[in-house]
Symmetry: C2
Subunit: 188 residues, 2 copies
């Protein structure tokens, strides 16, 4: 942030405002304070006849890797609506009977992942704008070495583990990237 | 948003970027796209000997009304850490054994409320910077007509309902403000 988006001044400074306890971008001319907060990524594990809907990314980052449909939640929608919209956009697929399944904090990138489980309507899916392929996969078919993000691997592992025990429960946890670029997972 | 915070230009326009499907603030000079996404509010139902920690607001909005400790999640923290920090800031209180309790979408104000249940350590609390009073209250003592926000009332109702049945479960739902200023609640 180099310029004030309210008054256009170039005097933006990083300082702790009065009554606050952490540095914010502040415009000393018009007094505007600019807050930056974590974003929600919402997505879906869409099921059809024991298989899960996967998408091959046709965008960066992780071009060519496989993922679950998920993306940034937009203003004026709910997390569930965001998950359904992302599934529509990335896999031209409709989902129903969504239920909240996992919520993971990724504090190193200021994201909270909120994933739902749901039924893929009529098993229909085809690549959306951001996907080169979509596929319905069982546990053996998942390309475990070709997944786009560690949080996707975590969600799929939890899902297949729950399905083996036939007991689905909500999972809450943290995933942090360590300095050595490995990931630490804490499941509560 | 009137000026570009990257290059300072006053040419900011609201337009649908290529490959996108909704209007964004875009700078035609430096091509920067500015996204605005929902924020997470994290908070806590802190319990001590059957009572719940409540705070009387000494800040706007809803100055003088009662609330549960809660506030905007910050970058580089988890939702659980945010809930514990807000409880510390608003009620000088420590909480432990936190578990995820409710998650509600408030799409009319682009917020997602994430509330935890936890134990108030040693029953200690005192007003923090944003509170004029704190109190431990049972169901009869809650000032139901003097609560700061409808989402706080919803959380307290769920909590006392679960406690009566001695069965706490995660609650997911939506709360929307209708044009007539009443609220519509959908519990999934």
């Amino acid at each position: 942030m180099k310029f004030c988006s309210s008054c256009g001044s170039a005097e933006i400074t990083l300082t702790i405002p009065e009554g606050d306890n952490r540095p914010r971008y502040v415009c000393p001319l018009c007094q505007e304070i600019f807050y930056h907060n974590p974003k929600i990524v919402a997505g879906c594990i869409a099921e059809w006849q024991g298989k899960v809907l996967m998408c091959k990314r046709e965008i960066e980052p992780r071009y060519g890797k496989w993922t679950l449909p998920a993306g940034f939640m937009e203003n004026h929608e709910t997390t569930l609506e965001a998950a359904a919209r992302e599934t529509q956009e990335e896999a031209t697929a409709q989902v129903e009977n969504l239920s909240l399944y996992t919520m993971y904090n990724l504090p190193h990138i200021n994201q909270v992942y909120v994933m739902f489980r749901g039924d893929l309507v009529e098993g229909h899916a085809s690549p959306g704008l951001e996907s080169s392929e979509v596929a319905l996969m069982d546990e053996q078919e998942i390309p475990w070495q070709e997944l786009a993000f560690p949080i996707i691997k975590e969600n799929l592992e939890l899902y297949f583990q729950d399905r083996r025990s036939n007991h689905f429960t909500l999972h809450y946890g943290d995933m942090r990237r360590l300095p050595n670029m490995s990931y630490e997972i804490e499941r509560y």
